[in-house]
Symmetry: C2
Subunit: 211 residues, 2 copies
C-alpha cells in the first residue's frame, strides 16, 4: 500500500485487503475515471471489468490521452456503492452508508488485439455474466473502433461506512426518529427489443439477474 491510497478522512473506514476491494469492484457497475486535461480535472463515468489484480476500462475520452502517453495516463478510478441514508438526531451527524474503492495508477491503452478481445469480454462479463457466450463477438472493424485500457489494482483502497447514526449522548432524548433507510440497486422486468422473435425468451442470466 503506497501512501496516496491511505484513507485520510475518517481513517477508521479504510480497508486495504484485496478481497474487499475486489468484491466492491465486482458489485459496482460504473467507474468514475478521473484524469487531468492540461490543468483541468475531468471525471468520466465508464464501464469496466476486473481481471484478477487488474481492471479493464472501456475506451472513452481517456483513450485519446493514453495514445499520447507511452507509459499510460495517470488516473484515479473511483467506484462507489450507495447502501443507505443515515438519519441522525442532529443534522451534523447525518451520513450515508456506502462502500467505495479508489485506485491510483497509469491506465495503459491495450494495443494487442488478443488482449483487447479479452478485455472486452471481461467488461461484458462484468456487466452480464454469461452474455459473451451468446452474443456475437466483435469483428475486426468493431475491435478497431473500440478502445480498452488496462489499470493495475496495485494502488487501491476501499472505504466503507455501515451501521446506524452515531449521535451525541445529549441528543438521544430528542423525540425524533433516527436510523437507517437502506438503499440498493434493483432490477426490473426485462424489456425485449421489438425485433426479438416471441419464441426467444429472456435467458436465466437476465431473468434472475442480481449482483
Amino acid at each position: 500500500m503506497q501512501s496516496r491510497t491511505r484513507v485520510r478522512r475518517h481513517p477508521e473506514r479504510g480497508v486495504y485487503d484485496a478481497e474487499t476491494v475486489h468484491a466492491i469492484l465486482d458489485e459496482g457497475m460504473i467507474a468514475h475515471v478521473g484524469f487531468v486535461d492540461g490543468e483541468t480535472p475531468v471525471v468520466i463515468p465508464t464501464a469496466y471489468g476486473r481481471d484478477g489484480a487488474s481492471m479493464y476500462l472501456h475506451g472513452s475520452a481517456v483513450a485519446l490521452w493514453s495514445k499520447r502517453m507511452a507509459e499510460g495516463v495517470p488516473v484515479c478510478v473511483t467506484v462507489t456503492l450507495f447502501d443507505g441514508l443515515v438519519l441522525a438526531r442532529s443534522t451534523f451527524k447525518h451520513s450515508m452508508n456506502y462502500r467505495s474503492v479508489m485506485i491510483f495508477g497509469n491506465a495503459v491503452l491495450v494495443s494487442d488485439s488478443q488482449e483487447k478481445l479479452h478485455g472486452l469480454e471481461r467488461i461484458v462479463e462484468h456487466l452480464v455474466p454469461g452474455r459473451s457466450r451468446e452474443a456475437r463477438g466483435p469483428n475486426e472493424t468493431e475491435l478497431t473502433a473500440t478502445s480498452v485500457l488496462r489499470l493495475s489494482l496495485a494502488e487501491s483502497s476501499a472505504k466503507i461506512r455501515s451501521g446506524g447514526p452515531l449521535d451525541d449522548d445529549a441528543d438521544f432524548s430528542r423525540p425524533v426518529w433516527a436510523g437507517v433507510l437502506p438503499a440498493a440497486v434493483t432490477y426490473g422486468t426485462p424489456v425485449p427489443d421489438a425485433l426479438v422473435p416471441p419464441i426467444v425468451s429472456p435467458p436465466d442470466y437476465i431473468r434472475l439477474y442480481e449482483r
Copy 2:
C-alpha cells in the same frame, strides 16, 4: 455553454438545458468530485445539494485544497444515474442506459457562517427533504468542524442514453434475446436506531421516501 462542456463522445447524447441538468442533480445522491493534487487526479465521492444555479458540496479532502486557493479549486463534478443494462445481439453494441451531469468550475470554500448553515441545510434537504425541520441544527463547534464548498452550475452539461439496443441489421436474425434490463435505486424498510423510543415511528418523509 463553454467548449469544455460540449459532449464529444456520442454528441447525440448531449443535453444542455438547465432543467435537464437540475433534474439529474436533484435525483442523484452522490457526486464524484475530481481535482488535481500536484499532477495526480483525485476522485472523491461526496454528498451535495443544489441551490438554484449553484451546488453545495460537503467538505472533504477538496476543502483542504480550497483553503489554499483564494479563487477556489478547479474541479470536475460528475453525477451519474444508472438506468439499466442494454443487451444487444453483438457484444460491441452492448451499452448502459444512464443520465449523467458533468460540471466544470472552481469550488469555493464557504466562509460566511450564514451561507455555511444554508449550504448544509441544502445538502441535508437534498438527501432527505423535510429532515432539517426535525433534526437539531448544527451548533458552533459542529459548524466549525464542517467544510462546505460552493460551485456554480454555469459550465455544466448532461449526457443521456435511453432506449433499446442499436443492433446492426445483419444481426437481427440471430436467435438471441436482446433488450433492456431496467435498473433503479430502491429503498427498503427503515431500520430504527436501538435508542429510538417505540412511540416514535418513522415520519412520512422516511416511510414514503422516493426520489
